[in-house]
């Protein structure tokens, strides 16, 4: 690749492409005018309307709850799946589990959503559970597709982990359960945190699967945003977007700074 001015210019243009739309969302959230694209002076009016918008706030609360529970359960199940695949050698259902852990990663969301909805409907007919659909069914659906992502993250961490630690503990007479909780879990903890954050974000962001499997009274935040956006632009959505971007930017900046500091420390050692 040629050196000189071309590469930096292409890179800057790429970042302009990535950030220009986000920047315009933020700028127009402070627009006094109802029209999102015509500047009518600075105002925080839309933030005031956002605080009074009970539909958005209610949906946000539902989404946060679903994301919290989905991420937590997905981390437990995904870690278990990754551990079994990496440490158990051969077992009867190995090929089946490998397939079922990787398939959700390539499955189009519309198929996952439809198939889970039809499952819930059939189960309700046959065994009476789940009675109707709502937060529980959305959480189950999110756990199922998030645990695949968690399993991938944890698997790569387990692959990079030094086996001898676990073997030493076994040689010293620790039972497998004890080895897992005292040795393996603390070592892979960063992957669990990363997996949890990934699952939380995926769940919070999902529109398609939730639309299929939810029921009355349990609209998630993406569903409410989608219905507002479909009707045309809405400055309240810009205000909401600005708050989300701010929270995420602070979070990512802190995480990067921490990572950078830790890298410096390990280099000094």
């Amino acid at each position: 690749m040629p050196r000189g001015w071309l590469l930096p210019v292409l890179c800057v243009l790429g970042f302009v492409f990535l950030y220009a739309p986000i920047l315009s969302l933020v700028i127009f959230s402070f627009n006094a005018s109802q029209l999102v694209t015509v500047w009518g002076g600075f105002s925080t009016r839309w933030y005031g309307e956002l605080i009074r918008d009970t539909q958005i706030l209610g949906a946000a609360w539902i989404s946060l709850q679903v994301a919290f529970f989905s991420a937590t359960i997905a981390v437990a199940l995904g870690t278990l799946a990754a551990f079994v695949l990496m440490r158990f050698g051969r077992f009867r259902t190995r090929a089946l589990l490998t397939g079922m852990v990787t398939a959700p990663l390539v499955m189009p969301e519309v198929i996952t959503g439809l198939s889970l909805l039809l499952l819930f409907v059939s189960m309700e007919q046959l065994v009476g559970w789940p009675a109707g659909r709502g937060m529980t069914t959305v959480t189950i659906a999110h756990v199922t597709f998030c645990m695949a992502f968690v399993a991938v993250v944890v698997q790569s961490r387990l692959a990079g982990m030094d086996n001898s630690l676990e073997e030493a503990a076994m040689d010293l007479g620790a039972r497998p359960v004890r080895v897992f909780f005292d040795i393996t879990l603390p070592v892979i903890a960063p992957a669990l945190i990363a997996g949890w954050l990934l699952a939380f974000t995926l769940s919070l962001d999902d529109l398609v699967i939730a639309s299929f499997v939810t029921g009355p009274g349990a609209s998630t935040l993406p569903m409410v945003i989608f219905s507002k956006v479909r009707l045309g632009v809405s400055p309240v959505v810009n205000a909401l977007a600005t708050i989300i971007i701010l929270v995420v930017a602070i979070g990512v900046a802190i995480a990067t700074w921490q990572m950078h500091r830790r890298m410096k420390e390990t280099r000094r050692d």
Partner: protein
């Protein structure tokens, strides 16, 4: 833990029962994720397959049962009409090929934009490298839906781009950009660009500087070094990034719905409309099964091929 199970009677009985079923120790640990995925991932596809063979009717749920007991006679009614309908109505075949076309072109464009960026970031000194990488990852953590919404504001007739061009005197009347196929390509390239950059970066950052120097010492011009050394070595990164954009783009629903026109029919959007607008559950299920066979199965094969390629490296 073991002592606790011994002491409490119901726990002891449960443990004994599980042992009888062959579910103890390892088996029990394996069973938890396997059972979850069986019930909530594999069985649902059997249900979809079943309903794709039934007939639509006005009821709750809106399809006719496949099996019916008539006294001591089991009646099985399998209706293949849904699949014949998918095959004969051009809409579905066109949507399928259009989805593949959109995904392929978008992934190619994302590669052309993402490669120079990934290369530049990988060759940057610290701390600039970490900072730039953070800038690539950051949009990924913000809402996907809101980023697509941002493009609506950019592309509409009274949007940012048209307003700028008119005020600069370059055009007189706004250009129709929203609700076109162009907007769909743009939206997909935009949202999936980080997925292209990250695997490319991970690959290019491992590239040995000494190889480039050796090529230069032997008289290779920068362009020759790039095409004979860098590009072949980064092939696994290119394939990885391409797949990460191509695969989710095929089944995309939100982007064609919000940025495309009413005739921008991609297969994910067709399934959605079949289900939510037409409320035809059997046809929606048939679309899902067809998609599974024509999209997901080839992708799984391609991925195992790709895994073998990276293993050989």
């Amino acid at each position: 833990m073991a002592a606790l199970i011994e002491r409490v009677a119901p726990l002891r009985w449960t443990a004994a029962l599980l042992q009888r079923l062959g579910l103890h120790g390892r088996g029990l640990v394996v069973a938890v994720p396997v059972l979850w995925l069986l019930v909530f991932f594999l069985v649902p596809f059997l249900v979809v397959a079943k309903i794709s063979l039934s007939e639509a009717m006005i009821a709750r749920p809106p399809y006719a049962p496949l099996f019916e007991w008539d006294g001591w006679r089991l009646n099985v009614v399998m209706n293949l009409e849904n699949f014949r309908y998918l095959w004969t109505d051009r809409l579905y075949i066109n949507a399928y090929f259009f989805s593949i076309q959109v995904a392929f072109i978008s992934a190619t464009v994302a590669l052309l934009i993402g490669y120079p960026m990934a290369y530049f970031i990988a060759r940057s000194p610290e701390p600039r490298r970490t900072f730039l990488l953070m800038m690539v990852i950051l949009p990924f953590w913000t809402s996907f839906l809101l980023r697509v919404y941002a493009w609506q504001g950019f592309l509409r007739s009274n949007g940012v781009i048209n307003n700028t061009l008119i005020s600069l005197g370059i055009i007189d009347t706004p250009i129709q950009m929203l609700q076109t196929n162009f907007a769909v390509y743009l939206g997909i390239v935009y949202t999936y660009l980080p997925f292209m950059i990250l695997p490319l970066f991970a690959n290019l950052v491992k590239l040995e500087e000494s190889l480039l120097e050796a090529s230069a010492d032997l008289g290779g011009r920068p362009m020759a070094t790039f095409f004979y050394v860098t590009l072949p070595l980064s092939l696994p990164g290119i394939v990885g990034g391409f797949m990460l954009v191509f695969i989710p783009a095929i089944g995309e629903f939100v982007i064609p719905e919000l940025l495309g026109g009413p005739d921008t029919l991609m297969i994910g959007r067709v399934l959605w409309n079949e289900f939510f607008s037409n409320r035809d559950w059997p046809v929606a299920s048939a679309v899902a099964i067809a998609m599974l066979v024509a999209v997901v199965v080839p992708i799984m094969i391609l991925r195992s091929f790709q895994a073998r390629l990276t293993e050989e490296k």
